[in-house]
């Protein structure tokens, strides 16, 4: 009977590895931008196209930079999480509307609420390229000196906020 148990044994080891594998994210490729200064830009804001914003204006603050778009369905998923976060007020969120019609984006904010202090508009996606955006939504955590400290790919979840982003924010704010 012993030799007939071998397949079962191998399978149990395999299940162990698969279980660990579930906790790992194959897409969590370290971004080359982490530890580097946030790429500069000067973009018009959604609420008032005449007004411009650049990362230099935010020096001295720890802030989240959230890339989103009205056409992106998974952005709708994180929208509520971001709204809650903005109400708590622990960290300011700046948005970037990526390759989008400003009117559509404003309509989304009017309808579902606006978690952003300001949203800049990246019509042609040029700034997105500098930030290495390859899928929307993406979120960057930028420290007081304008250095990118963390990058989150995909929708922000309550779990990722509590476990990774907020502890890091606290640490950086000190």
């Amino acid at each position: 009977m012993k030799r007939f148990l071998i397949p079962l044994g191998i399978f149990i080891v395999l299940v162990g590895f698969l279980g660990i594998g579930l906790k790992l994210d194959p897409r969590e490729v370290p971004s080359p931008l982490i530890g580097k200064p946030a790429p500069d830009f000067k973009l018009g804001v959604l609420s008032d196209p005449a007004k411009q914003l650049s990362p230099a204006d935010l020096r001295g603050k720890v802030w989240l930079f959230n890339v989103w778009a009205s056409w992106c369905a998974s952005c709708r998923q994180e929208h509520e999480v971001l709204l809650d976060l903005s109400k708590q007020g622990g960290v300011p969120i700046y948005g970037m509307d990526y390759k989008d019609q400003p009117g559509d984006a404003q309509a989304v904010l009017n309808r579902y609420g606006n978690p952003y202090v300001e949203t800049v508009v990246d019509l042609d996606g040029r700034v997105g390229i500098n930030y290495g955006v390859y899928g929307v939504p993406e979120t960057y955590l930028i420290d007081k000196n304008g250095i990118i400290r963390y990058k989150h790919t995909g929708p922000v979840t309550r779990e990722s906020l509590d476990k990774k982003i907020l502890p890091l924010v606290k640490e950086l704010q000190q």
Binding site: F4, L8, V15, F17, L18, G21, K23, A69
Partner: protein, 641 residues
């Protein structure tokens, strides 16, 4: 309303699946005929309700019901209706529902074509399939419900992945799933045999046609996937060793081993425990494939949105189904006696070698697929295993396998005579070697791999001819099984030619073309006439025009496109191909350059369609052998009689 009906049908289907598994299994154990007789009606009712659920989801997609989350995420109002329909299984939830639907379909088939089987066997087979179905339905209802509402409803959807907006996607997933899920029948037969303790030749005969049917579907499904990747991904390759492709290749390899091993168990009563193990293995690998693709453990072009809760559920499901059956196997297989003895040179030995090689190949693919995960889990870094590993492992394993195709079918059972085999095959082998050495010289460069490929293909074809001729001369009549086998083996030879030629002689050019530029590739001249803007239903495209001529005579005009889908903003390459029996001309647009110029990819691919023709022949061979008379004309035997 309709989505709620679908949701309700899923719950009813779950109740029916529970009934379908518990009562018949208990009935078979206690020899209670009334309980066992529940199996068929319960399975048919379960099929009905899963079908209703599937219909409800398809309906929600077709009428653009953007209050259903799944529709919002995977469809778009301007999507053509056929793709709105196929979007039904374009999502994680939808493809699970398709999986379950096809499982119910196979179960329905078992209820219809099992009249010649003993009642307890039928009850156990249907019961085991019901258990699998329970797991899937629970999975859907708990973590992946396709009918979740989005309130307030969205204005429009975010469109189906452009890769999936293709005619190939209409049939590729259903056919592939028919194969994957079809192995559940062989699995259920094996478990039924283990539970009853009657591991004789009869269960092998019963499960043979089912296994072959599933295998044929899987072969076709993999072939379509490979063809789809060829024309849709725009890279001109036909196999990428992507984790998802590997996930379908592994059950195919084990399934192929199973078909051969079932033959031995049926005819000679040997390999009994081994065959049961393979039947468990083929379905387990189908489940493992589903896990790998659905859980996001491995990154792949095919991966869907990932969710840890889902991954955990599939893993638990996997552990119960596979772990449970392997445990049962460990207890029961040791009680199985040895079958008939056989000599070192015999058909049994050749088939054993076939099994070992196929299983080793499967192990190599499994290792290559999971190796990045192992390293990552042990904190040894992130790596990816690519084609060089797979190619260098696969060729040495496949070569002896293909040589065996020539000898195996001609060897006698129990004991074969080496001099007799040599006498029948020596001229064929000699001729294959001579042609294989000389033929590549006429094709340009002599390459050892080309000679090897041609040798293997010719050897298979000649040995089939010798075998068929021997049967005709010996007065053997029509046997669907015999000719089906030879047709499938012939398909292997055709595919080998395709793989060999395209790997050795394909030509690729990646060039900048101004309007009016020409490039000549293997005697074909491509004239670039510029790119125009075209509007599709849900995309905008730049469509290039390439006039192809050969020796001044026009061959065809190709229109490759670079598309941008409006809803998702995703760019997409639509290649244009001129198919031919001995060569494909493959063109794809790269990036726009200044002044109306484009970077363009041009390929000349000799014999590439042979790969898929070969796969179709293999599937046809399988289908043919199922029609063999001896699978049908069996009298019904009572349990225990």
């Amino acid at each position: 309303m309709i989505p709620e009906l679908g949701n309700f049908s899923l719950m009813l289907a779950l109740m029916l699946a529970l009934t379908q598994s518990i009562l018949p299994l208990a009935g078979a154990a206690r020899n209670n005929a009334a309980w066992m007789s529940v199996a068929r009606p319960a399975a048919r009712a379960q099929f009905l309700f899963v079908a209703i659920a599937f219909g409800c989801l398809a309906y929600s997609f077709l009428v653009n019901d953007f209050s259903v989350l799944n529709v919002v995420q995977h469809s778009f109002s301007k999507l053509p209706p056929i793709y709105r329909f196929t979007a039904t299984w374009g999502s994680h939830e939808g493809s699970l529902l398709l999986w379950t639907f096809i499982l119910a379909l196979w179960t329905l088939a078992v209820t219809l074509f099992s009249r010649h089987l003993p009642d307890d066997m039928v009850a156990r087979v249907i019961g085991v399939m019901g258990l699998v179905s329970c797991g899937l339905l629970l999975f859907m209802l708990i973590t992946s419900n396709p009918f979740l509402r989005l309130l307030p409803a969205a204005m429009d959807g975010s469109d189906l992945n452009p890769l999936l907006q293709d005619p190939g996607m209409v049939i590729h997933p259903p056919i592939l799933y028919m194969g994957y899920v079809g192995f559940s029948v062989a699995f259920a037969f094996a478990l039924a045999a283990l539970i009853s303790g009657k591991l004789d030749a009869s269960w092998a005969r019963w499960s043979r046609p089912w296994t072959t049917a599933a295998w044929s579907f899987l072969t076709l499904g993999i072939m379509m996937g490979s063809w789809w990747a060829y024309y849709e991904l725009g890279w001109g390759g036909w196999w990428f060793w992507d984790p998802t492709e590997n996930a379908s290749l592994m059950p195919w390899l084990v399934g192929t081993a199973l078909i051969h091993s079932l033959a031995v168990t049926e005819k000679r009563g040997t390999f009994k425990a081994w065959t049961v193990f393979l039947a468990i293995g083929a379905f387990s690998l189908s489940l493992l494939g589903t896990f790998l693709v659905r859980s996001g453990v491995l990154s792949s072009v095919h991966s869907f949105a990932t969710d840890p809760a889902r991954g955990l559920f599939i893993l638990a499901f996997l552990a119960v189904v596979i772990g449970g059956s392997l445990l049962l196997f460990a207890f029961r297989a040791s009680q199985v006696g040895l079958g008939g003895r056989f000599a070192l040179v015999s058909r049994e030995s050749f088939l054993m070698a076939n099994n070992i090689l196929l299983l080793t190949a499967c192990g190599a693919v499994l290792l290559g697929t999971l190796y990045p995960l192992f390293l990552d889990a042990l904190n040894l870094g992130k790596i990816s295993v690519g084609p060089p590993y797979f190619n260098s492992v696969f060729v040495p394993l496949v070569t002896p396998l293909l040589l065996l195709i020539g000898v195996g079918p001609m060897a006698r059972w129990k004991q074969a005579s080496v001099p007799e085999l040599a006498a029948r095959l020596k001229w064929g082998f000699g001729a294959s070697v001579v042609v294989a050495l000389l033929l590549p010289l006429t094709l340009g460069a002599w390459k050892p791999m080309v000679s090897l490929g041609i040798l293997l293909a010719l050897w298979i074809v000649i040995s089939i001819a010798i075998n068929v001729q021997g049967r005709l001369r010996g007065g053997g009549g029509w046997s669907a099984n015999f000719y089906g086998m030879n047709l499938a083996h012939f398909g292997v030879a055709v595919a080998v030619i395709g793989v060999t030629m395209v790997s050795a002689y394909e030509t690729e050019r990646n060039v900048r073309m101004n309007v009016g530029d020409t490039i000549t590739l293997k005697g074909y001249t491509f004239l670039f006439k510029g790119a125009q803007d075209v509007d599709g239903p849900n995309y905008k495209a730049a469509r290039g025009t390439l006039e192809v001529s050969s020796n001044g005579k026009p061959v065809t005009t190709l229109y490759p496109e670079k598309r941008t889908y409006t809803a998702s903003g995703m760019p997409f390459t639509e290649s244009a191909i001129d198919y031919g029996f001995t060569r494909d001309l493959y063109t794809a647009m790269g990036e726009p350059l200044d002044g109306g110029a484009w970077s363009v990819r041009l390929f000349h691919k000799p014999f590439v369609v042979w790969i898929w023709i070969g796969a179709v022949l293999m599937a046809l061979g399988g289908a043919m052998s199922i029609t063999d008379r001896r699978y049908r004309s069996r009298k019904k035997g009572r349990a225990g009689a």
